[in-house]
């Protein structure tokens, strides 16, 4: 699989994991705080695995890919960049939309001719089962709340941008919404740069250091 394609997967998981980790300590109740933080950490673990595959091809290492690129070089979908920290309904809406989109993508990767990719997709999918249970239980619980349905509507064009155009009808079916113009990868939201500044702060403070 082409390194750029691997980076799209890795960057999505990395940036979303980072965004979700912002809820650590301030989620609506303790049990959820632990669960949400743990999911965030698992996503970063998945990112690490995708980065490692890309790093072989690009002859670098996972840390360099995660932290040493310029914000413009990240290949993530705008959905994962959005800072939603004061909005639990939107954060849950994003988790749910992302898990559905990612599920479709992972399903396709299970059949990849690249055996490393298919093997990793299979491992990741086993952990994603729990992520999907978590996202679905929340989505069902909040389904009738205005805040949640409005958030799903607002994030829908972003969610479509996570998957490829051929996979979008599947996502429409999974979410139960009509296809609209997607907010595509390639252009970053203004939320990415401040996130990048914070995320790479320590790494940039001592370039080339080993930890």
């Amino acid at each position: 699989m082409d390194a750029q394609e691997l980076l799209r997967l890795a960057d999505d998981e990395f940036i979303l994991g980072w965004r979700d980790s912002e809820w650590t300590g301030i989620a609506p109740f303790l049990e959820e705080d632990v669960a949400f933080s743990s999911i965030a950490q698992t996503e970063i673990g998945h990112a690490r695995a995708w980065y490692q595959l890309a790093a072989v091809e690009l002859e670098t290492d996972a840390d360099a890919l995660a932290f040493d690129r310029d914000p413009d070089e990240y290949a993530c979908a705008p959905l994962v960049e959005l800072r939603l920290i004061d909005d639990w309904a939107a954060s849950i809406a994003r988790r749910w939309l992302y898990e559905r989109a990612d599920g479709i993508r992972i399903q396709a990767l299970l059949n990849s001719v690249d055996r490393d990719v298919a093997g990793l997709a299979e491992k990741i999918d086993r952990e994603e089962v729990y992520h999907r249970i978590h996202a679905d239980m929340w989505a069902e619980r909040l389904r009738d709340h205005d805040l949640f349905s409005r958030a799903v509507e607002d994030l829908w064009p972003y969610a479509l941008g996570v998957v490829s155009p051929e996979q979008r009808p599947l996502l429409c079916h999974a979410i139960g919404l009509e296809e609209v113009g997607a907010i595509e990868r390639g252009n970053h939201t203004p939320d990415l740069r401040p996130l990048w500044e914070e995320m790479t702060m320590v790494r940039r403070s001592l370039p080339g250091a080993t930890w």
């Binding site: 049990e31 959820e32 632990v34 669960a35 743990s38 978590h134």
Partner: protein, 95 residues
């Protein structure tokens, strides 16, 4: 709503109380139980039980009313008797 979680470490082992958690319904309780007691492969299975379903039994139901010490075996120590017998027979303890 409070839920009590019991864990089974290995298949066939007895379930033991792991702890409790708060969750709005069974679905959330199961997800959180997995998070707290099953994420690191430390459990083979979990039981998730609403706290209201647990009935507590205390005194006087579980206390002894009459003194029936003689029914218990913990008062009989063989150690002293054995020592005494060995002394009489003139043999030392084997260990």
């Amino acid at each position: 709503m409070i839920w009590e979680v019991f864990r089974q470490e290995r298949e066939g082992a007895p379930f033991q109380h792991g702890g409790s958690l708060e969750a709005p319904d069974l679905r959330f309780a199961k997800a959180y139980a997995r998070e707290f007691y099953g994420r690191r492969g430390e459990s083979f299975a979990l039981w998730v039980v609403p706290r209201e379903a647990v009935e507590e039994v205390r005194e006087p139901m579980v206390a002894e009313v009459f003194d029936r010490d003689y029914r218990r075996v913990d008062g009989y120590s063989l150690k002293g008797k054995l020592k005494e017998a060995r002394g009489r027979a003139g043999t030392a303890a084997t260990r």
